[in-house]
């Protein structure tokens, strides 16, 4: 079914797809797991990882790498008996998602919206930090170059 707004026809799934790049929805996180070494029966199965806020950031060599969509904590070296929620809390107790401590199915919309806000803020802070670092480095290099040429 399509919804019409003005003259444009927007496919309805569009509204959910906007969340995908940020892995905000559990379903989208689940779909990132291309290759995961643990079976669905283990305590850190793909479903449980996605529930605890992790999306896959692994590579061919390191398959068991996952990152939290809120605090961006990246964890690897998972073992089949690990509990994703516990590990998440242990390594990133400051994470808003860990603090809420409930899976998406128990999250109210208002909580989700607030979570999205903090995710976006964290992303912005991260990007700013990265840019500042690279800029500072570039500036230093330029300055050194300038000084060296003068001598």
């Amino acid at each position: 079914m399509n919804a019409t707004a003005g003259n444009q026809t927007i496919p309805n799934t569009y509204s959910l797809e906007a969340f995908r790049p940020h892995n905000l929805l559990e379903q989208h996180r689940l779909e990132t797991f291309k290759d995961w070494p643990f079976p669905a029966s283990s305590s850190c199965s793909i479903a449980k990882m996605a529930e605890a806020g992790f999306y896959w950031t692994g590579t061919e060599r390191e398959k068991d790498t996952a990152t939290c969509f809120v605090c961006f904590k990246t964890l690897d070296g998972w073992e089949s008996h690990d509990n994703p929620w516990e590990e998440h809390g242990k390594h990133a107790p400051q994470c808003e998602f860990v603090k809420l401590g409930c899976p998406e199915k128990d999250l109210t919309v208002i909580q989700f919206v607030e979570l999205v806000g903090s995710v976006m803020k964290a992303k912005m802070a991260k990007k700013t930090r990265e840019f500042k670092d690279s800029f500072a480095k570039a500036a230093e290099v330029k300055l050194d170059e300038f000084k060296r040429n003068r001598k």
Binding site: L25, E104, V109, T128, K132, A136
Partner: protein
């Protein structure tokens, strides 16, 4: 007469100070960039905060308190939050649980679902003969909830069954006056009722609650009292809810919510007409014979040369149409 000696910098000295100056300049510029970055970040964060705040404000309470899986189901069919009707959703869940119950073989559940729906429809939040009936039936419904785990979901959606709930679920009640229609026109939202956080986790109603405090109040669009301001208005005059909704249909009345001028490009009616914008308004010609003395002379003053030329062209065009029609045998 002695004078201050201006020491001439040696070439080397000059170069050093020049160099230092350049370096200082560079460092200052780098600092400026960093400050700009900080400022941009702060700006982003404050914009984000406002956006989120306005987003939460324009969401109905029922949506805000909804669980994510339900919301994901609902949002797929929504274009705007305001399109969401809590009562529809409640009914949907109720009917879902009814079907669940029938498959489970709970005959009690069937009757219950039916009463909830009818309670919602008839009950308007006032204690009338009708609603007392509905209230009673929903009270009995509440007792019917006991233990049936499949009902929990609908119980949560119905949170406080009874007259208060239905009044809330159906959006605000409005007086059935002209302004009632008006507020429906621009889909103003009723004052938000914030349920206490404890209420969401409980099925039954809090005993110690003052009923009037949480009750949605009737309001009209043209009321501009402090109460009207308190209403969780999802927009302000400077930020209209949406850039564009649609043009009014022919014959439809359009009202500006905040008193700003409006662009109305509606056909005045379903007959041929000519509208000519002139200096002091619009010259609207209707298919009714116009006597020569009806045209006042000061009308011509409001016409400038361009407009007059345009009218002439229009006249010629109309003449062409009339001629063609005549030739085709239409009379």
């Amino acid at each position: 007469m002695p004078r201050t000696k201006v020491s001439k910098n040696s070439k080397r000295n000059r170069e050093v100070s020049n160099l230092e100056e350049k370096i200082n300049n560079f460092e200052r510029k780098v600092d400026v960039v960093f400050n700009d970055m900080d400022e941009l970040e702060m700006q982003f964060i404050s914009t984000l905060d406002t956006r989120i705040k306005s987003l939460t404000l324009c969401m109905q309470v029922d949506i805000r308190e909804m669980k994510m899986p339900d919301f994901i189901d609902v949002i797929v069919d929504l274009v705007r939050f305001s399109d969401f009707k809590a009562s529809d959703h409640t009914q949907m869940i109720a009917s879902m649980s009814v079907s669940q119950n029938t498959t489970d073989g709970h005959s009690l559940g069937v009757g219950m679902g039916g009463t909830v729906v009818s309670g919602n429809r008839n009950d308007e939040g006032y204690l009338t003969e009708d609603s007392s009936l509905g209230g009673l039936s929903s009270a009995s419904t509440l007792s019917a909830f006991g233990g049936a785990s499949s009902m929990l979901k609908s119980a949560k959606a119905l949170r406080t069954p009874g007259p208060l709930h239905s009044a809330r679920a159906r959006r605000a009640r409005r007086s059935r006056s002209a302004c009632g229609d008006m507020s429906a026109l621009h889909s103003a939202r009723p004052p938000a009722v914030v349920p206490s956080s404890s209420a969401s986790s409980r099925v039954s109603r809090n005993k110690m609650r003052t009923p009037m405090a949480t009750r949605p109040k009737a309001f009209s669009a043209d009321r501009n009292t402090p109460m009207g301001k308190k209403m969780s208005r999802n927009s302000s005059p400077s930020t209209p809810p949406v850039a564009f909704l649609r043009y009014p249909k022919p014959g439809e009345m359009a009202l500006s919510k905040f008193g700003s001028p409006m662009v109305v490009q509606a056909m005045p009616d379903k007959f041929a007409n000519v509208n000519i914008p002139i200096r002091n308004g619009v010259l609207s010609l209707r298919p009714k014979r116009l006597a020569a003395d009806e045209v006042e002379t000061d009308l011509l003053q409001a016409l400038d040369e361009d407009t007059l030329n345009q009218i002439k062209t229009l006249h010629a065009n109309l003449q062409v149409i009339v001629n063609t029609a005549n030739k085709a045998g239409l009379k």
